[in-house]
């Protein structure tokens, strides 16, 4: 998918005009944040766990090469294969090569953000291989030819009615009298459809929530169990992961799991947590015959040790989206690419460049709620400010706002001139509307006064009035 981050303002207008979206998003604000808060309150050591989880990631990022090589040797020992891919294109062709080598026609797939990032589905389709999303939300948006609007709840932008309509349109066998009014009914309809796909898939493609260096295992976390059917039924399992997903030990993985689901959905643990290590062993009852892990860089190593290093600690829980006042109004699609919310606004410019994504960092009130709830304590507002600074230095800030800012900054360093200029403006505003107390319209602020009344200044400046009083 080509990013539409450059059209952010148009995307925002569309999002705000979409009634279904605002209904869907209102449910998000009531759900996840309250659940998270309950889960956190039930676990007294939650704050300590956050510190521990962050320390693990800090340590890993300083020793990334060591742990990745250790992981590789463990995977090889267990009979799996490791593929290192520098870019999205390299990852796409590697995955295509593996699927072709086993003669695959159908690939079942569990939810993976890195899969979205490298547009693997489009690539497989273009080469005659059918990818089938098996996560319910991903399945729905695949039918609708949409992108995920949330990193853990990809179809959160849709109402139940929209989902029912999509099924009726795309599931041609569906009897008109079959009821699709309840979540359970929608789930069953999707399950019936997907069951056959699971059974006939040649390759199962999964992401990985973590890679464990100590054992060469990958960790898969879902609520639907779809990843387990995805990887265990076909003969070939391909897992894809970006390189910062590595953790040193099983113990470390369990620390991160303890903060992951609580931060995401408020569950103590997600319903399914699976550790997969290599292909099926001789005494295993089931499992894939071939196991491939595709480890993708795609811009991450450039972030190491720099201003945006900490973004590599992100465990994709979605807490920053769930709590973001801006995300709750515009949803994920407005951000214009696969990631959204505060983590998206911070990560995206690292991956596609600031030229294409400079709106995102400015679309934040810097309220700090994201940092407050981030299990890894990532300083998202600090990094959003850093992006703003980089844009400003590259002259990407529109000229009118830049000129106004320059005038303000100039006046602010010349207090007497500042006071003289603003005294005149204040006197003029007060003489127009002191009695009414506010303006319904104001030149230069017309976009703001479309929705807000602007209060009239009280009169005089504080500094002048204070000094006059002192002299009396």
């Amino acid at each position: 998918m080509d990013p539409t981050t450059e059209n952010f303002k148009t995307n925002v207008r569309k999002a705000i005009a979409d009634n279904n979206l605002s209904i869907a998003l209102s449910k998000l604000s009531e759900g996840f944040p309250a659940q998270r808060s309950k889960a956190v309150n039930r676990l007294p050591e939650f704050e300590d766990l956050r510190d521990q989880a962050r320390e693990i990631k800090e340590h890993v990022l300083k020793n990334l090469d060591f742990y990745l090589e250790k992981f590789e040797s463990r995977v090889l020992e267990s009979g799996g294969k490791v593929h290192w891919c520098r870019s999205a294109a390299e990852a796409r062709s590697t995955i295509l090569r593996i699927t072709r080598a086993v003669g695959a026609k159908t690939v079942t797939k569990s939810k993976s953000m890195i899969g979205e990032e490298i547009s693997i589905n489009e690539h497989l389709e273009q080469h005659g291989i059918e990818p089938v999303e098996t996560d319910l939300g991903e399945y729905i948006i695949q039918l609708r030819n949409e992108k995920p609007s949330h990193i853990i709840a990809p179809a959160i932008h849709l109402t139940m009615k929209q989902v029912a309509n999509t099924f009726r349109k795309k599931h041609l066998h569906l009897a008109p009298e079959r009821s699709l009014n309840k979540p359970r009914e929608l789930l069953e309809e999707a399950r019936d459809e997907l069951r056959q796909k699971f059974l006939c898939a040649d390759v199962g493609l999964t992401g990985a929530n973590m890679l464990i260096a100590e054992t060469g295992s990958i960790v898969l976390v879902t609520n639907e169990g779809n990843a387990d059917l995805t990887y265990s039924l076909p003969k070939t399992h391909i897992a894809i992961a970006s390189l910062e997903k590595i953790v040193p030990t099983l113990e470390d993985a369990s620390t991160i799991l303890r903060v992951l689901a609580r931060s995401a959905t408020g569950q103590e643990m997600s319903v399914y947590t699976t550790f997969c290590t290599g292909p099926k062993r001789s005494d295993d009852l089931d499992g894939p015959e071939n196991f491939h892990i595709v480890i993708i860089d795609n811009g991450r190593s450039d972030m190491l040790g720099g201003e945006f290093n900490d973004m590599l600690m992100c465990i994709r829980c979605g807490a920053c989206l769930n709590h973001c006042p801006v995300y709750k109004v515009i949803g994920g699609h407005a951000y214009g690419w696969v990631y959204s919310g505060p983590m998206g606004a911070t990560l995206i410019p690292n991956l596609i460049g600031i030229d294409k994504s400079h709106h995102l960092a400015h679309a934040s009130t810097l309220c700090g709620k994201c940092e407050e709830v981030c299990p890894m304590r990532i300083q998202l507002p600090r990094m959003l400010r850093s992006w703003r600074q980089l844009y400003f230095e590259r002259h990407r800030v529109t000229s009118i706002s830049r000129q106004l800012l320059k005038i303000w900054s100039f006046l602010a360093t010349w207090p007497s001139l500042y006071r003289f200029v603003f005294s005149i403006i204040i006197a003029a505003l007060v003489s127009i509307s002191r009695k009414r107390g506010r303006f319904k319209k104001m030149p230069f602020f017309s976009k703001w006064t479309k929705n807000f009344d602007l209060p009239v200044p009280e009169g005089g400046t504080f500094i002048d009035r204070w000094n006059r009083r002192k002299q009396l």
């Binding site: 006042p325 700090g368 703003r388 807000f452 200044p457």
Partner: protein, 265 residues
């Protein structure tokens, strides 16, 4: 500039640009509150803005130029008190970041940072202010400004002070910690998003049935009152300093002098 009285700590009042230009009465209320705790209040004439508009727009060069002026104007006081969470945090948290690669100014910035306090923080924690002769006949709800809450960890201080005001009943909104959508230049750049965020904030304020909204940041207050007024609400919006200092003669934010009599509960 008045001469420092012996044993009275000297406090430099940084009024903030919004108080200076939009609502001087908050400045007078702040001065009165500080003075009542036994301090000598001085208002340096060389002050304008803390530099947030530039800093939050990525213009660190512009922000530094303003910050240097503030540092020089306030360096000699024992305390610097600011009736705004975001401007206090700009000085105490962000000035040191701005000058992190500039040794001499970093020292000065850090020196200023450690003696700068947001007003309710100063009154409640530093001066342990207890005696308020103020009364307020009304039901109040309090909005936590994001910078106060998350950058300065100010939560109990304003509530502790409001409890001492006779006649005042405080009702907490469930979403008192949620952003109001102001965000400085954010509300000018993305007014539609800002408008939706403040609508959610207002729903929460209305659910408390309070007749007055208080906060410690004029940015948030202008934003929330701007939307309340547009929606025709009669809820009064004031800076907390006005109530604490018993200086509520000035009409609430966004109410004209004409409306003084009608804007009641």
């Amino acid at each position: 500039m008045s001469i420092n009285v012996a044993n009275e700590p000297s406090v430099g009042l940084f009024a903030t640009c919004l108080v200076d230009l939009m609502r001087p009465s908050v400045g007078f209320a702040t001065a009165k509150l500080i003075k009542n705790t036994g301090c000598n209040v001085i208002v340096p004439i060389e002050q304008t803005c803390c530099g947030q508009p530039a800093y939050n727009s990525g213009d660190n060069v512009g922000a530094k130029a303003i910050a240097r002026k503030v540092i020089l104007a306030f360096k000699n006081f024992e305390y610097i008190v600011v009736p705004s969470g975001s401007c206090a945090s700009m000085i105490s948290n962000h000035y040191p970041t701005l000058f992190k690669e500039d040794g001499e100014w970093l020292c000065r910035a850090k020196d200023l940072a450690k003696k700068t306090f947001e007003l309710t923080n100063f009154l409640a924690d530093i001066q342990n202010a207890k005696d308020f002769s103020a009364g307020y006949d009304g039901v109040v709800t309090y909005h936590d400004s994001c910078s106060s809450l998350r950058e300065l960890q100010i939560k109990d201080q304003p509530r502790k002070l409001l409890k001492k005001i006779k006649g005042l009943e405080l009702i907490e909104g469930i979403e008192s910690e949620t952003c109001c959508g102001f965000g400085g230049l954010f509300c000018v750049k993305y007014p539609e998003i800002s408008s939706h965020i403040v609508d959610a904030k207002i729903s929460d304020i209305l659910s408390t049935k309070a007749d007055t909204l208080l906060a410690n940041d004029l940015g948030c207050l202008i934003n929330i009152s701007g939307k309340l007024k547009r929606r025709g609400s009669l809820i009064k919006v004031r800076h907390i300093a006005e109530v604490l200092a018993n200086m509520t003669d000035v009409p609430p934010i966004g109410d004209g002098f004409m409306e003084k009599k009608t804007s009641c509960k």
